[in-house]
Amino acid sequence: MNESDLRRLISNVKRGRLSRRGFIQRMAAVGIAAPFANQILSLSGVAMAATPFTYKPTKRGGGGTLKLLWWQAPTLLNPHFATGTKDQDGSRIFYEPLAGWDAEGNLVPQLAAEIPSLENGGVAKDGKSVTWKLKKGVKWHDGQPFTADDVVFNWEYASNPATAAVTSGSYTYNKAIKVDDYTVRVEFNRPTPFWADPFVGALGMLIPKHIFAPFIGAKAHAAPANLKPVGTGPFKFKDFRPGEYVSAVINTDYHEPNKPYFDALEMKGGGDATSAARAVLETGEYDYAWNLQVEWRILQQFEKAGKGAIQLVSSANVEHIQLNNTDPNKVVDGERSSIKTKHPTLTDPAVRKALSLLIDKKAVQDYIYGPEAVATPNYINAPPRDYSKNTHWEFNVAKANEILDKAGYKKGSDGIRAKDGHKLKYVFQTSINGPRQKNQEIVKQACAKAGIAIDIKAIPATVFFSSDLGNPDTYPKFYADLQMYTTGSNVPDPWQWMKSFVSTEAAQKSNNWEGRNITRWNNAEYDKIYAEAGAEMDPIKHTAMLIKLNDLVVDNVAVIPELHRQNVSATAKNLVVHLSGWEDDMWDVASWYRNA
């Protein structure tokens, strides 16, 4: 089904000639899943169907204490300074944004009265502004009313360079303006198809003006409320010990009816992921454990005890292997992997193609990650609307050998292929992490069968993932031939994230390796489509462009996507949770409840 067919169907739905259900059925017939079809409709301005999550309790409270186990506990409770998901999770118990993202990537109003769209006039046709209507009657935990002043204040707070807020990226190229007490307009300085970034999701949580106003700018770190939050959320602050413990009690004035179900909440920190999984699944001491990057067979063993269940939520994260386009062994102006060099063999499309055939993704999934990570041909794996159906992957050693033979790479006496004196011998680096080292081993063995020698290198995660300029082993420097790690878009529009293949973004010494393009890949067609997609307001064209960008990356083997990772957590048997891969785990804790 091409774009014009799609548009015809959508306009039929809009004019009432085709029912919503009929549309979804037709999409299903051509292999498009229902959530994706829903997505297309909502993006095209057809009203969104209610989210499938149902909240059963019919009154507020009465649920007792909800016991959460975070093996790394929050260290502070101001969302504007949240350096990791743990801090965002801790903050989200108390603070809310205007809207959150559900698992399918739909916007769900939290402090907004409704979601802006082109149809209701909330989103400007030129894409340069969006108008949010705020929910009325919402009160901060200290009884003060929540108004547009608070929203505008958050923009002032986060965009002030002296505040040095982690969220400042979302408030830099825009401006928030108060229209009236319950209406706020966000103006962008260029057309912005993804307008749902400021005030939305984990980076969009809102703090109260009347508490934080004296602490804007350089004084921000001294605010006592950084450790004693006053929010609008379902739970009120009770006690907090950094890195250890957060406790909260029910907010009986919460703005959603019958929520929350629990009377109190405790978030306990410390320990490690495996024993956290055990405390929920095997001994049942806790109700929920977060972020369980634990081997699948161990989790399954725990689950057999019958005390709880493993929860998998699709994230946007993709474990992938990057191929260096520049030469890591040549030094130019004191810099290795300089963009002035060219990798002697990895820039050859034949070698790239061969390598992509040598990654046994299925084996990695089956033997290492289990259902926690699914083999994928794509770099963009979520949201479903942006998942390309044009790509495929295979593991085929014979074909790889054939391609290399044809390209003129001959095996030497040591069994390693070479051409023009350049051996197919690569350094393959990643962070130290059990599953990753097993994964490296699988790649190494397959490559050996095709005459490619792999030297495995494992770097401590604190070094590999740091921005330390003095250290040669960081991933942005990429002083190796191949490297592997996980990355993903944090928001359900991967455009910003896809910057990592734009040629002008190449990480290099002159920009302190802060450029996002780590592989130093360079493709004029990609650059052009990327720029166009950034201004494309038509959601369908925007999606089509993103899919094209993904296909360019995959077809040219700019990187080899390996596995689409899932977020793993554990819940007590009767606990019903509402999770989303686009949000922190606490985003809708107001809707959690226990089945009787």
Partner: protein, 320 residues
């Protein structure tokens, strides 16, 4: 022993502490990673923001300047602010200290209460069945690291028998006896692990120290005078035999803080050890500095106490 001796020892401690602080600070500065490491891989946080954050914490200054800032603040009695939680480090440590002292204290007391009598009894009847068992148990205790005994206990009492919780709770619900019961229940495993860790070497030490004394002529003389066996052991042997043990316990105490780090992590005891580990994970330099510095001070103080005690208990030792 004199006041001059005490003063001299205290003065010697100052350069040692300075040296320790310089070493720790430079190791931390040389270690990879910074408090905003997690942000680096986040595509939504522009590098400029991270640079700004680093600058706001003074991380861009040269190491020596940062050290001098830290030292000057320290001399003013300011422990600095945690990078991760923007909180006064002293407050952060005070929050954790009570739990650590409670757990470590009860472990130490338990260790002494068990190890000293066992060691004495083993020495009184060397190579008897009791001695064999006690020695074997002590060897096992010395050989097993806390992380292993901890997991062993969790497996046995939490997973298999469902008797004890293995997540230490900060705030136990209930009041009065119910509260006390729950507190004791959750403390059993961490305290037992630490008590074994501290008690096992103590048994060995008490035994050998007692054996040294028991062979001395004055003990034989006492027996020859017709004093009862029990009386000889308790009045004459134990008194002298335990002098080195007192020193050992005093010297052992700061080391116990180190052993507690792992135990606290395993059982999620919210003490100094788990604070240190989370600070390490966050690259939270001021907190790491403060905790390691507290440990360093403890080592020096307890060394001094051990020396003083030794002189007091055994007047033959002359401290100058």
């Amino acid at each position: 022993m004199s006041r001059a001796y005490l003063l001299r020892r205290t003065l010697i401690a100052i350069p040692s502490l300075l040296g320790i602080s310089i070493i720790i600070f430079s190791i931390l500065a040389a270690a990879p990673g910074d408090p905003f490491g997690q942000l680096v891989t986040n595509p939504n946080v522009p590098p400029a923001v991270i640079a700004k954050l680093r600058a706001s914490l003074g991380l861009n200054q040269p190491i020596w300047l940062r050290y001098i800032h830290w030292l000057v603040a320290m001399l003013h009695g300011e422990w600095g602010f945690s990078f991760a939680s923007r909180m006064d480090v002293a407050t952060l440590i005070m929050q954790r200290l009570s739990v650590t002292i409670a757990v470590l204290g009860s472990a130490e007391i338990l260790a002494i209460l068990i190890a000293v009598p066992v060691g004495i009894l083993a020495a009184v009847r060397p190579y008897s069945l009791f001695d064999q068992i006690a020695s074997t148990a002590a060897y096992i205790g010395v050989a097993m690291p806390t992380f292993f005994t901890g997991l062993l206990l969790i497996f046995l009492f939490s997973v298999r028998l469902h008797l004890l919780p293995f997540v230490f709770q900060d705030h136990v619900a209930g009041t009065g006896l119910v509260w006390l019961g729950a507190e004791i229940k959750q403390s059993i495993m961490p305290v037992a692990v630490l008590a074994l860790f501290q008690g096992a070497p103590l048994v060995r030490f008490v035994r050998s120290s007692m054996l040294d004394v028991i062979r001395l002529d004055y003990v034989t003389t006492a027996r020859a005078k017709g004093i009862g066996r029990r009386r000889v052991i308790l009045r004459h042997v134990v008194r002298n035999g335990l002098i080195p043990v007192v020193t050992l316990v005093a010297l052992q105490l700061p080391g116990v803080f180190g052993g507690a780090i792992i135990t606290e992590q395993i059982f999620r005891v919210p003490g100094m050890g788990s604070l240190l580990i989370s600070a390490l994970l966050d690259n939270d330099t001021p907190v790491i500095m403060a905790i390691t510095f507290v440990f360093a001070i403890l080592v020096i103080i307890f060394n001094l106490i051990a020396d003083l005690l030794y002189g007091w208990l055994d007047p033959r030792i002359n401290l100058r």
